[in-house]
């Protein structure tokens, strides 16, 4: 069970990283002068029509997703008995987030023709969270031989 424990801890840490990136992107959305960019394309991406959905910055959706994943990681640590439903919810959210993030990256490359390093960073975090949720399900499957599936230190 130690592997599951590590996976949940990694999900927790990645969610924190995602919240930091997402919060920064929300901030610069409203104050573009605060944008620090090494790729030269962040401004174009942030001011493009794809940066908002119905006037809501896309970064708010991303940050909300990371907050949810953080709460799910905490929930799985505190309530191991709810491991399966919470992991299923985590898997569902990260599948959708990964698909949306892949679409946004495609837009950056082929529609906006500019790359925003912060957006790429967020896309990488989302991909890793998705991979972790798959590994969580694999770990749960392998643990099916045990009588009780809980997170416990060895």
């Amino acid at each position: 069970m130690i592997q599951l424990r590590r996976l949940i801890a990694a999900s927790f840490l990645l969610s924190v990283v995602g919240i930091v990136i997402g919060s920064y992107l929300i901030w610069v959305h409203y104050d573009i002068d605060a944008l620090v960019c090494g790729t030269g394309g962040c401004e174009a991406v942030q001011l493009s029509e794809y940066a908002t959905v119905r006037d809501i910055p896309v970064a708010i959706f991303g940050t909300a997703m990371y907050v949810t994943m953080l709460l799910l990681a905490m929930g799985r640590m505190i309530f191991p008995a709810s491991q399966l439903p919470l992991s299923a919810l985590g898997l569902a959210i990260t599948i959708a987030a990964f698909a949306y993030s892949a679409w946004l990256t495609w837009l950056e490359l082929f529609e906006i023709d500019a790359i925003c390093q912060w957006c790429v960073g967020s896309a990488i975090v989302t991909t890793l969270l998705f991979a972790i949720e798959i590994l969580v399900f694999r770990a749960l499957w392998l643990a099916m031989g045990d009588d009780v599936v809980v997170i416990s230190p060895e």
Binding site: A44, L84, A88, A92, L140, M144
Partner: protein
């Protein structure tokens, strides 16, 4: 010793216990698969929801060239300038026809600037070229394939005939992906023809490259003033950035300038 023999020697109760454990394992795995299937189903619903809300908000409004040209009618224009020369506020726009954010400003915010401040005689607009997009692909400024410079030169040629603003609208309307050969020599000349410019004068102006020096000088002047991207503005010589608030921010800045206050960046 064969496995069959060993199983034969297992007591009945132990065999039953093994069967029960195996059944329990299968049941748990079935439960796991059901939850995984539910997760995938929920993911599909979430993706469809995202497609629905983003699909319904598919970007900027379509530009109607006829409406755009009509926007400038009955307003005093002189070359790259638009509005009353005596207007108290001078509004300079640095832009690149290849820049998608410039198009966004042009279609979503500029009409409100014209209606609320230019037509009232409060603001006079000046356009200045800031060709930078082709530079992202290291295309030299003097290269005929530098579409940012070529489009700016063509717009300056149209300005000679006091047709800068309709020509500018037409270029933004036609905007394609950056450096995708949208603003070719042929396209720039065809646009002049479509807008019923004096094509002989326009083509001579474009072919001679006589506007290149002016375009590059204005570009350098902008860079010297601290312009780092497009669009960027000057309001009474104060450098201001384009923000997501678009017209709302500009409106406040114009009002500050009209009140004689220092315009906030």
């Amino acid at each position: 010793m064969s496995e069959t023999n060993s199983r034969k020697r297992q007591p009945k109760s132990q065999r039953r216990s093994t069967r029960q454990a195996s059944a329990r394992k299968r049941a748990r795995q079935r439960t796991l698969l059901i939850w995984a299937g539910g997760a995938i189903g929920l993911a599909v619903i979430l993706i469809l929801g995202l497609v629905f809300i983003t699909g319904d908000d598919d970007g900027e409004p379509e530009t109607n060239p006829a409406e755009s040209v009509a926007l400038y009618q009955d307003i005093q224009s002189d070359g790259r300038f638009l509005g009353d020369p005596e207007a108290p506020v001078e509004f300079v726009i640095y832009s690149d026809f290849q820049c998608p954010v410039c198009k966004r400003f042009d279609t979503q915010d500029f009409p409100a600037v014209i209606d609320n401040f230019v037509k009232t005689g409060d603001v006079r607009v000046e356009w200045r070229p800031m060709p930078i997009i082709s530079g992202f692909e290291d295309i030299p400024l003097e290269d005929p394939d530098n579409e940012s410079v070529q489009a700016a030169e063509a717009a300056m040629c149209a300005a000679d005939q006091d047709q800068f603003w309709p020509y500018s609208e037409a270029l933004f309307t036609a905007q394609g992906a950056e450096n995708s050969s949208t603003y070719t020599d042929e396209m720039l000349k065809q646009t002049a023809l479509d807008l019923e410019l004096d094509t002989e004068a326009f083509n001579t102006c474009l072919d001679s490259g006589e506007k290149q020096r002016k375009v590059l000088d204005l570009r350098q002047d902008g860079l010297d003033r601290g312009v780092k991207g497009t669009p960027t503005f000057l309001i009474n010589d104060q450098l201001v950035s384009y923000t997501r608030e678009g017209f709302d921010r500009l409106e406040q800045q114009f009002n500050d300038a009209l009140d004689g206050k220092l315009v906030e960046k």
